[in-house]
């Protein structure tokens, strides 16, 4: 059984696991682009953009692209905005790990090498592991393959320390793997076919996955013309830290399933068999022995069956929405609170399937500069149902959640994947959002937005849609008599001012209730 370990739990800057990883990466990087077991071929399976790769220094005019057959079979395969996100990436990690391990064994290294993971949630572990932050090997040679020059960090200055206040583990509180349009996106995402990008990201994909990509990659001096490799799906897998980040995402999937929760993977045939059931592409990856591995999500449900485990499944993060077992006992999580904090009682996230629109903004909000705002016009009937549900929740907290309320940012389009912003609900016009921390609905990282905005791309330029649970905010507004209004203000606050030429727009901001 291979054991994936916390990279920060390994001894020193260059523990054996990272030293051998670097050697394996170096060997794979030395292979030509067209070789299926080369580093760049593997990165191309996540996504490929020749102009971007050239800019980042990963494609030269002398490079020979893989054959058209190989490109159609393997490249641009990664699943995003889909319930296939987690199983596809699990297979991708496994296959890359096998290739690196073989390269390690060929170089005389250990046959039990396993990929470490980066748990940025753990106290003191939010900085990039040191072996990735230096261009030098331990012997002083200046070609450390784990170091990547186009890796600019949250402030665009090359220093990668993740601001953990922007990350959270709220996703682990979601009782359902599969989401529903308008309502909860689910832990794992919505029911889709083969889905290379765009659409609604599942809860775990949204945060921390998308956020860490944008925060690690960043953009040079915050200039979007020079994104970091990790910031863009078409180049993210070129950066060796990508694999440790995704190992953590994979680990959190296992954490979500861990008892005493009753969380479960989907049992639908459409999920288990994967997109080939509807005539779409197979999940296929090249193995070190030259064969092609074809797999489906049903093959990915249990890491023990796949021959590996994690040294620790404790998520070790903070959750704004802490839950305890309720009367039904179903779909709840314990132990998700930050270390030392007692979980709140009463509120239970239960599975509900009825979703309806209760409010919507005017179409097309342009976001530029330091902030943007709009109002969500509330439908009187829907508003009444939400108020009744919030009143019931307040009167009988032990009875469980009758309803949940979600804010949707629909069809977000733009040109800068490294942009991120915070969304506030119910902050009065002209007021400072810093005075209303409890009105923060959520945070958005635009990982994948540029490709998703292409009208001739896979999803016809529909952009990305983000969903936030604002039930708590609805409770507060209800308690202050601030919910019985015709228009609810929404404020968008970017982490860095948005330039006009980013053409960042939000198609519509809407509020849905999910419940009875």
């Amino acid at each position: 059984m291979f054991v994936r370990k916390n990279v920060w739990g390994l001894r020193g800057t260059w523990p054996d696991e990272l030293l051998w990883y670097a050697r394996g990466v170096k060997a794979m990087k030395a292979r030509p682009l067209a070789t299926p077991t080369s580093w760049r071929f593997y990165a191309g399976m996540h996504g490929f953009n020749q102009a971007l790769w050239q800019q980042l220094g990963y494609f030269a005019t002398t490079d020979r692209l893989p054959s058209a057959t190989a490109v159609r079979k393997f490249w641009d395969q990664c699943q995003h905005g889909s319930w296939y996100f987690l199983p596809w990436h699990r297979g991708y990690l496994l296959a890359l790990e096998k290739n690196v391990r073989q390269a390690i064994v060929d170089a005389g290294g250990p046959a039990d090498w396993a990929l470490p993971y980066w748990n940025y949630f753990k106290s003191g572990q939010s900085a990039l592991p040191k072996a990735f932050a230096t261009p030098k090997w331990p012997d002083g040679a200046n070609d450390n393959p784990l170091f990547v020059r186009p890796r600019y960090g949250p402030n665009g200055d090359g220093k990668v320390v993740l601001p953990v206040q922007l990350l959270d583990l709220d996703a682990l509180n979601d009782p359902d793997f599969t989401g529903v349009a308008g309502g909860s996106p689910g832990f794992g995402g919505l029911d889709t076919g083969f889905h290379h990008g765009g659409g609604v990201h599942g809860a775990l994909e949204t945060n921390p996955h998308d956020y860490v990509h944008g925060l690690v990659g960043g953009a040079r001096n915050n200039d979007r013309q020079f994104p970091g490799a990790m910031s863009i799906p078409a180049s993210a897998a070129l950066d060796p830290i990508f694999w440790l980040h995704h190992a953590n995402i994979d680990r959190l999937w296992s954490s979500w399933l861990r008892p005493p929760t009753t969380h479960a993977n989907p049992t639908d045939t459409a999920w288990k068999r994967g997109p080939t059931r509807s005539g779409e592409r197979k999940f296929q990856l090249p193995l070190p022995d030259g064969t092609t591995w074809t797999y489906s999500p049903a093959d990915m449900v249990d890491t023990a069956t796949l021959g590996y485990q994690y040294d620790d499944l404790t998520p070790a993060g903070s959750s704004r929405r802490r839950v305890t077992p309720g009367p039904q006992g179903a779909g709840t999580v314990v132990g998700m609170a930050a270390a030392g904090a007692a979980p709140e009682g009463g509120a239970v996230a239960t599975s509900r399937r009825d979703v309806e629109l209760v409010g919507a903004s005017a179409p097309s909000l342009a976001v530029s500069g330091a902030d943007a705002s709009t109002d969500v016009r509330m439908d009187p009937g829907g508003r009444g149902k939400v108020m009744a549900a919030r009143g019931l929740a307040a009167a009988q907290p032990a009875a469980g959640e009758p309803d949940r309320v979600f804010l949707n940012l629909e069809n977000v389009r733009g040109k800068n994947d490294a942009t991120s912003f915070s969304v506030y609900v119910g902050v009065p016009a002209g007021a400072d959002v810093a005075d209303y921390p409890n009105r923060l609905a959520g945070k958005v990282a635009l990982f994948g937005v540029r490709a998703a905005s292409d009208p001739d791309g896979d999803h016809a330029g529909q952009g990305l849609t983000y969903v936030f649970d604002i039930t708590r905010i609805a409770d507060e507004l209800h308690a202050e008599n601030g919910l019985d209004v015709d228009d609810l203000p929404v404020r968008i606050v970017p982490n860095h001012p948005v330039a006009d030429d980013e053409q960042l727009t939000i198609g519509r901001i809407s509020i849905f209730r999910q419940g009875r």
């Binding site: 349009a181 029911d191 080939t276 179409p363 001739d456 999803h459 330029g461 809407s510």
Partner: protein, 239 residues
């Protein structure tokens, strides 16, 4: 069943039922033509009704994705109103264009022999099928403008959404519609049926870069093969 699959069926089933009814209506009218009545040379009310039936029969299934979004992202109390507004915009655009296509077809048929008219239609459809413009229009049928959803502007936005979607549909499908109108009346129903299957099949493919190339609805074939394999495997395992 996932919520998404449930929603798909809730929209797909009634739309396909209405489309099937329109096909039956067309078949009945087809018999009227086969009985020796003169082919259409002017647009009379009966012809207009026939064109409307043709739009419902052939283009009905093309609205399923659009209507599903309207239902998913609209206020439940307005659902039928939103659907009606979208379909009103969509149908108005399509019926208007269908009248023009029918007049063009009638003009061509008075100019050349029936065989040549059919060939002209086929040639136009094949050439258009290979153009970047066709692919661009087909790509745009997968994207929908956001709508207000609440208040009086929601009616306006829903109609505009229907018209928008129809315009891209027309851009993608007009040549096949014309080809169906250029064949002899006795063969029109069969050609329309084949064209409908083709149009549905190509809508299953994902958007792709507009270039000059022949386009074949590959995904529909793979879907059919995959479903057949599933059924064979399922029967073998239950035997």
């Amino acid at each position: 069943m996932t919520p998404a699959e449930r929603q798909r069926r809730q929209v797909r089933t009634p739309v396909l039922a209405v489309s099937a009814a329109a096909w039956l209506g067309l078949a009945a009218i087809g018999h009227r033509h086969a009985g020796g009545h003169s082919e259409m040379t002017v647009i009379d009310p009966l012809t207009l009704a026939e064109l409307a039936l043709m739009v419902v029969a052939m283009m009905g299934p093309m609205t399923i994705g659009l209507l599903r979004e309207v239902v998913e992202r609209g206020v439940p109390a307005r659902r039928w109103r939103d659907v009606a507004n979208v379909l009103a915009g969509y149908s108005a655009a399509w019926v208007g264009v269908s009248v023009e296509l029918a007049l063009v077809a009638a003009l061509v048929r008075t100019t050349v022999s029936p065989g040549v008219a059919a060939l002209v239609g086929l040639a136009a459809a094949v050439v258009w099928q290979c153009t970047p413009a066709k692919q661009r229009c087909l790509n745009r049928t997968h994207a929908h403008r956001p709508v207000a959803g609440i208040g009086w502007v929601a009616d306006r936005d829903a109609r505009r959404l229907g018209v928008d979607h129809a315009c891209w549909c027309i851009g993608s499908c007009w040549a096949l519609m014309l080809a169906a109108l250029l064949v002899a009346p006795g063969q029109q129903l069969a050609v329309m049926a084949v064209a409908s299957v083709w149009l549905w099949a190509e809508r299953l493919d994902r958007p792709t870069r507009p270039t000059w190339r022949p386009r074949l609805p590959v995904k529909a074939v793979r879907l059919a093969v995959a479903q057949l394999q599933l059924r064979v495997v399922s029967r073998s395992s239950s035997a």
